[in-house]
């Protein structure tokens, strides 16, 4: 007796054949399509197993963002910078206390006000064995400032301010020339890593973005997009800055960076000991990390200032009384305390306390709904004020809390959420009235934040803010070679801004890292860098 299928003239063999055929269609279709798409995509075919000793001896880092390039000159991403800094050294670096130390530069001196002469370390080699010379420094700086024709413009250009050119004096001496005095050039050089000219010219910009080499303590082994970036110890490393001992090759066999963008995944991975360092622990999870049996929390003060911006060029905030009312309507302290569980600090102004020339005399913000109402009444808003508070998705809860508290002062704020880049561009066109946003300033120098936001022509002047005195003071401070003169001018600017109130509700969050107990010498840093040169791993029992 045959099966049911036989009644229609189908044998089981037919059935099987057809099922297999149908499955083959499903399987083959997409495969064909990839085949078609793959074209020259087989570069990934280089993928191979890593050496077992590298995998065993490597530190594993869970990053909070993916990277789209590893070219030191072609990004504005802190994640890319934190990874690349392990592969490519710069002329200048910062130690864990944020002090400036020479790295590939041995020393530097100013000739006149606009010519900086850097003496370079000798005997340093790139990962391909070629020697590091002044030519590579010239190439690196020239590429960023756009002085090499035929290469795409670098998004890091403005981090070099008024640098106009370079001059090779001999193999180990190079001059960097600025348009007018630029007192903080050495501070800004920590954001640039030196790239090898010969290798770059040999492989071209696209390949360099995939496989950069540098003079750093680790060399790139592989970058599998979306999955991992693997670096291994560079045994011929010159040792790094002599001011940050020990001066020797790295201790770790390597580092595996993995983008784990979901915070929950990062933390479970840390707890399960699949990763050794988890970047960017959410503040509400910080206390939990300290309860992990095999990991602890590492904390640094943050350098990003969050604030509510007010558009001084448009009604209703063109009236200073309305702006002052906003300051009295809501106090950041209790909100920050409640939402960020004490992992943040309310600030009187735009600068964080670590920053150069931070003005300690500014009064702490205080909530006073009665005063806010009175000011609004004087400004003609006796029935209260209706406004929209714009923010990006990550700030939505905070914005809603602010709006909620503001209601007590007669301000009916409606929260509106945007995509990050979209909001930023609207802000730059000064199209929004009131907004919760932030500005990072890891240089910790006011020049990285005040002129950008508050000069009349600042490229991120979101506020339509125009004050001739502020423009003049900032210009003078940016050009004053004497640090004390600079500091005085920046303090004055902070006081004027406090009086003019283009911003209120300032706070800075802590940088929180989860770190496995088997890691030694890793410290959270305010600048978010992850230097692995001195880090080591305890042998596992």
């Amino acid at each position: 007796m045959r099966g049911v299928g036989s009644r229609g003239g189908h044998t089981r063999r037919d059935f099987l054949k057809r099922s297999v055929g149908a499955l083959a269609v499903v399987g083959a279709g997409p495969s064909l399509l990839t085949g078609l798409l793959a074209g020259c995509g087989r570069r990934q075919a280089g993928q191979r197993a890593l050496r077992a000793d590298l995998v065993r001896g490597a530190l594993s880092v869970a990053l909070d963002a993916d990277v789209q390039t590893l070219d030191p000159a072609m990004h504005r991403s802190r994640t890319v910078e934190a990874v690349v800094r392990n592969v490519c050294d710069g002329l200048v670096a910062r130690d864990a206390e944020m002090r400036y130390v020479p790295q590939l530069a041995e020393s530097w001196e100013l000739e006149g006000d606009t010519r900086w002469v850097f003496r370079l370390r000798k005997g340093v080699t790139f990962h391909d064995g070629s020697a590091f010379t002044a030519d590579d420094v010239k190439f690196t700086i020239d590429r960023i400032i756009g002085a090499i024709p035929g290469l795409p413009p670098s998004p890091r250009k403005d981090l070099l301010g008024p640098v106009t050119g370079t001059e090779v004096l001999d193999a180990h001496t190079v001059a960097i020339i600025t348009d007018g005095p630029y007192p903080i050039l050495h501070k800004k050089l920590v954001f640039q890593e030196i790239c090898p000219r010969a290798y770059f010219e040999e492989v071209g910009p696209d390949e360099f973005a995939r496989k950069p080499i540098g003079t750093g303590p680790f060399r790139l082994v592989e970058w599998i997009a979306g999955e991992r970036i693997v670096v291994e110890r560079f045994d011929e490393y010159y040792g790094g800055s002599p001011e940050v001992p020990p001066v020797e090759p790295a201790k770790l066999a390597g580092v595996i960076f993995r983008p784990l963008e979901e915070a929950a995944t990062r933390l479970v991975s840390l707890e399960a000991q699949e990763v050794d360092v988890a970047v960017n622990v959410p503040s509400d999870q910080a206390d939990r990390v300290d309860t992990f049996p095999t990991a602890h929390l590492s904390v640094a003060q943050g350098t990003r200032t969050h604030f509510v911006g007010l558009n001084c060029a448009r009604k209703p905030f063109s009236d200073r009384r309305v702006r002052e009312a906003m300051r009295h309507a809501v106090d950041p302290k209790p909100i920050v305390e409640q939402f960020l569980l004490g992992r943040a600090r309310a600030l009187p102004g735009m600068l964080v306390p670590m920053a150069f020339s931070y003005d300690e005399s500014l009064p702490e913000p205080r909530q006073d709904p009665g005063r806010a109402r009175a000011l609004l009444r004087q400004a003609g808003y006796a029935d209260g004020l209706e406004v929209t508070l714009d923010c990006e998705a990550t700030d939505k809860r905070m914005a809603e809390a602010i709006a909620g508290v503001m209601a007590g002062a007669g301000v009916r704020a409606e929260v509106r959420v945007w995509k990050k880049d979209n909001l930023l561009n609207q802000l730059r066109r000064q199209e929004r009235d009131m907004f919760l946003t932030s500005w990072g300033n890891s240089s910790l120098d006011p020049s990285g934040i005040l002129p950008v936001l508050f000069r009349s022509d600042g490229y991120s002047n979101f506020f339509g803010y125009r004050n001739g005195t502020v423009d003049r003071l900032l210009e003078e401070a940016d050009r004053a070679m004497d640090p004390e003169v600079r500091a005085r001018k920046y303090v004055e600017v902070q006081r004027i801004l406090h009086a003019d109130i283009p911003t209120c509700f300032h706070f800075a969050q802590e940088e929180l890292y989860g770190v496995s107990d088997r890691v030694s010498n890793f410290r959270a840093r305010p600048d978010g860098m992850l230097p692995m040169h001195d880090v080591s791993l305890a042998d596992e029992a």
Binding site: G9, G21, V25, P30, G41, R228, W418, L424
Partner: protein, 338 residues
């Protein structure tokens, strides 16, 4: 008959793909935010000239319909152009890198789902409202109701963290990555004859695969159960039993095959959902596949990359339905392909 039917249906793919790509193209261009904004987002001081230069470089300054026409023409020969968000790489390269991971995960989840659902459905149908049936039904209800995101994290916590049985993320032990042939680590490691690598790849697939398979397995199990109950009440099953066939043959050969007919369609539909589920699952598990790529590409307004990924999904979906129709006809002789 088979050849003509399949050929005809494959031809129908063309208008479907054109339609899908047009809708995606329009939606991408209608949503606020554009790729240039994203590229220049943090880039500091930007001049209008720089913006215009980038716009014309990517052809974004042309009329929409011209842009679409150009895209279509190039896509027809497999050229999706450069990715906006992956510097210096073509869309085809980026997609080709990620596709094997997604294919492997989806096939694994599919197989896992079927292997769980069909036996569970059959066993549950043998004693409706019995203990196994009730457990399976409640489990299936959970499988359908639990959001993938939450289920993924729960699986990580239970199997990755508490029990330490399975790895939480990644695709394979990095010391065991097999020689690249298909890009599917399980297949490549078998081709290389490396059992340890195969086992490692399988273990890494387990949690995301299970999270992805859960809703599908639940639906399929419920379908198998109810159609089995229907079939088991039929006369021919009574007859088969009456003439003394072993129960195993009655269930396996006579009842199950008929119960599978309605199941095939559900499987095809649910597998389509698997594809969409992988955006969430890949994000939670940081699995480097197409779903994660699509999510990132949308955030970056990387138009051509989004287009390419959506087209792959559309092709897979159409092929799945085609396969279901073919399989349906194979299972049910009353159905004719035309």
């Amino acid at each position: 008959m088979w050849g003509r039917f399949v050929g005809h249906r494959l031809l129908q793919l063309i208008p479907v793909l054109i339609g899908v790509s047009f809708i995606v193209f329009l939606t991408m261009h209608l949503t606020p935010g554009d790729p240039i904004e994203h590229m220049l987002g943090q880039a500091g001081r930007i001049t209008q000239a720089q913006i215009d230069e980038l716009r014309s470089h990517y052809g974004l300054d042309r009329p929409l319909l011209v842009q679409y026409g150009l895209f279509l023409g190039n896509a027809a020969v497999g050229d999706f152009g450069p990715s906006y968000s992956h510097q210096g790489r073509s869309v085809s390269q980026v997609v080709a890198e990620r596709f094997p991971a997604t294919l492997e995960l989806t096939l694994f989840a599919f197989a896992l789902g079927i292997m769980l659902a069909i036996p569970a459905g059959v066993v549950a149908s043998l004693r409706p409202h019995g203990r196994f049936d009730r457990t399976a039904t409640v489990t299936a209800l959970l499988g359908i109701s639990m959001p993938g995101f939450w289920l993924g994290i729960m699986l990580m916590i239970v199997f990755g963290l508490r029990l330490q049985w399975l790895p939480i993320s990644g695709r394979i032990d990095l010391a065991l990555v097999p020689q690249y042939v298909t890009g599917l680590h399980t297949v490549d490691s078998l081709l290389a004859g490396d059992g340890a690598a195969f086992w490692s790849a399988l273990k890494h697939l387990a949690l995301p695969g299970l999270a992805m398979a859960a809703p599908m397995a639940a639906m399929v199990m419920r379908m198998v159960r109810s159609s089995m109950i229907g079939v088991l009440g039929q006369d021919y099953v009574q007859f088969a039993r009456a003439k003394g066939l072993p129960e195993r043959d009655v269930i396996g050969k006579h009842a199950l095959r008929n119960a599978l007919i309605p199941t095939v369609n559900i499987v095809a539909l649910q597998t389509g959902l698997l594809l969409s589920g992988n955006m969430i699952i890949e994000t939670v598990f940081q699995y480097p596949g197409l779903g994660k790529l699509a999510v990132d590409a949308i955030a970056a307004a990387d138009y051509p990359l989004v287009q390419a990924v959506v087209l792959i999904y559309a092709v897979s979906y159409v092929l799945l339905n085609l396969a279901a129709d073919v399989l349906h006809a194979a299972l049910d002789p009353r159905v004719r392909l035309a």
